[in-house]
């Protein structure tokens, strides 16, 4: 469905993404992991058309989309969310969803004066879909709230909700679990699974929460310093020495033994997450 071939993104002399090659098949939830600064979000920006790759090609549904803009990719069914929620803060939650569907007749300046009936009919459909989406996300109680007033976790759900307002084929989720409490997190996992199974969405998921990755993702790709370290199922990736090295630094003898225990990885991850919050 999506094929990345030797993607490089350099900022000046710094190669944030340094020759990434992997592909995503239809129906998969691909987990993208790696320490902070591995280039995951930059790679997302490149896939979604927000950043132009320095070199390499991206093919989506068999078509070369390397140089397409973000809005053009959206129309092809590739939708992204953001690591830091990008809600439309002065719009209501309902409006945040209702603005998403493409090609609404009411987006034409003149249709609003000349074809009001058509605009209204479409609005009713869009509204119904938005209301349904909010019910699915259990956000109905904040329908009329300004999106800027939502909690961090609710904004994350809203980001996911926006991807449900269009007929997306591939959804890029950038750390949907960051800053979301445990209960909401389980809910989020469940929603992603439903979308994957029932609506046939394919996902790429950047996440630091290993539980979530373990539960949802197959395969998992681990990146470090702009490169793909390894691709495989969760357990293969987790126990690969190169991955541990990337997370914990150069292993040396006895330390390496210890490093293979999960709690340590968890701890380091927590610290990293904490740093990010700051």
């Amino acid at each position: 469905m999506l094929e990345l071939d030797n993607i490089v993104k350099a900022f000046g002399g710094f190669r944030a993404v340094d020759g990434c090659t992997f592909s995503v098949n239809k129906g998969e939830i691909l987990g993208l992991v790696g320490p902070n600064g591995a280039g995951k979000t930059t790679l997302f920006g490149v896939i979604a058309g927000a950043l132009q790759p320095t070199s390499g090609t991206i093919r989506f549904l068999g078509e070369d989309v390397t140089h397409l803009s973000t809005d053009a990719l959206f129309h092809k069914g590739l939708v992204r969310t953001f690591q830091i929620p990008h809600e439309f803060h002065r719009l209501t939650v309902l409006e945040n969803l209702m603005m998403v569907p493409p090609n609404q007749p009411g987006e034409n300046l003149f249709a609003n004066w000349l074809a009001w009936g058509k605009v209204r009919a479409c609005e009713e459909e869009v509204r119904a879909r938005a209301v349904e989406t909010l019910a699915f996300l259990e956000l109905t109680h904040v329908t009329e709230e300004r999106a800027g007033n939502l909690s961090g976790g609710q904004k994350k759900l809203l980001e996911l909700g926006r991807t449900m307002m269009t007929d997306a084929k591939l959804v890029l989720l950038d750390e949907p679990a960051a800053g979301v409490n445990r209960t909401l997190l389980r809910k989020l996992e469940e929603k992603i699974q439903i979308l994957n199974r029932e609506r046939g969405y394919t996902f790429i998921l950047i996440e630091h929460d290993m539980e979530m990755i373990e539960k949802l993702c197959q395969p998992v790709v681990c990146m470090a310093e702009g490169k793909v370290l390894i691709q495989g199922d969760f357990h293969t990736v987790r126990s690969d020495p190169r991955v541990l090295e990337a997370y914990l630094g150069e292993p040396a003898g006895a330390e390496r033994e210890q490093a293979q225990h999960d709690p340590h990885i968890e701890e380091v991850r927590e610290q990293e997450l904490h740093k990010e919050d700051l």
Binding site: D71, F74, H86, L91, M99, W113
Partner: protein, 313 residues
């Protein structure tokens, strides 16, 4: 001041308020709805004014014009020309963000002012254009003023109605989304550049109409008649104080600021002459103070952007 004079003055003020309300409404499309910092309002106002003047005025040797077309055509022309001139300007300037856009548009307004001042064949340069017809101009003074006020109010009402519909339509929702978060709007498939340009042209066209109303009211126009202090700076204050993002706020802002602006002049004019000259500047202070107070106690303006706009109900 006797009663009749006061009434006349009120009508005169009403007409000007209507014209400035149109400018504020135009700016509301650009800033309130789309977040475009246009600091060159006076430029589009001038383009509208001169366009209508040239289309409707009698022939003068050495200057294009003498078309003497009906006033309605002049107004249409003002709308079209202001919109047309906004197109290349928007194409170039809208690549800039906020403060850079402001600087670019100030520059553009200044270019327009200089062109008007120096292109004799087009605008009559500093002599300006005279003999511009005025609707209901053949009536006696009070009736004519009243009729013109009616016309201005009608124009504001029509523009208000059209804008409200846009604001509450999916188009308005999309524009506000672009304003709130450009990256996310692009990720949701909206064509940011094209839409921003659309709003810029739309706003400029409304400003052009205001220019046309202004020029037919005065029956003549010179480069000095359009003061950026009023046509740009004061309009911004009107919108910010009234409440950007809210069309009624824009109109209310125009009323409040123009009353403060002119009434304070009326009061200072009554002072002894030597003081009066200096006291005149107090109105800039008064307007500034009003803005400070409103922003302190109602940061989103007197009438803030409405929440939960519901379309198609």
């Amino acid at each position: 001041m006797e009663l009749i004079g006061l009434a006349n003055y009120a009508i005169f003020m009403g007409i000007l308020i209507g014209i400035y309300a149109l400018l504020a409404l135009g700016l509301n499309i650009q800033w309130g709805l789309t977040g475009l910092f246009n600091a060159g309002i006076a430029g589009f106002f001038a383009v509208g004014a001169y366009a209508s003047a040239i289309i409707t005025s009698p022939h003068v040797a050495g200057r294009v014009g003498g078309f003497e077309l009906p006033i309605v055509v002049g107004w249409m022309g003002a709308i079209v020309f202001a919109g047309l001139i906004a197109w290349p300007i928007g194409k170039v300037c809208l690549r800039f963000r906020s403060d850079y856009l402001a600087i670019a548009t100030i520059g553009v307004a200044e270019i327009i002012r200089l062109v008007i001042k120096s292109e004799d064949w087009l605008t009559g340069s500093s002599r300006g254009i005279t003999g511009i017809p005025r609707p209901f101009g053949e009536l006696d003074y009070v009736a004519s003023q009243l009729a013109y006020l009616g016309l201005v109010i009608a124009a504001v009402a029509v523009v208000y109605f059209l804008l409200e519909r846009q604001l509450k339509s999916p188009w308005g929702r999309m524009m506000r989304a672009i304003r709130d978060n450009e990256a996310a709007a692009a990720a949701m498939g909206k064509q940011i550049e094209a839409r921003r340009l659309q709003a810029f042209i739309f706003g400029a066209a409304v400003m052009g109409l205001a220019g046309a109303l202004f020029v037919h009211f005065n029956r003549s126009i010179t480069p000095e008649a359009i003061d950026p202090m009023i046509a740009t700076f004061l309009i911004w204050i009107m919108l910010i104080l009234g409440g950007s993002g809210n069309n009624r706020g824009a109109i209310l802002g125009a009323i409040v600021i123009w009353l403060l602006w002119s009434v304070s002049e009326m009061i200072t004019d009554r002072l002894p002459t030597d003081v009066a000259l200096q006291a005149k500047y107090i109105r800039i202070f008064v307007v500034g103070l009003a803005l400070q107070l409103v922003l302190r106690f109602r940061p989103e303006g007197i009438l803030p952007e409405e929440q939960a706009r519901q379309t198609a109900r």
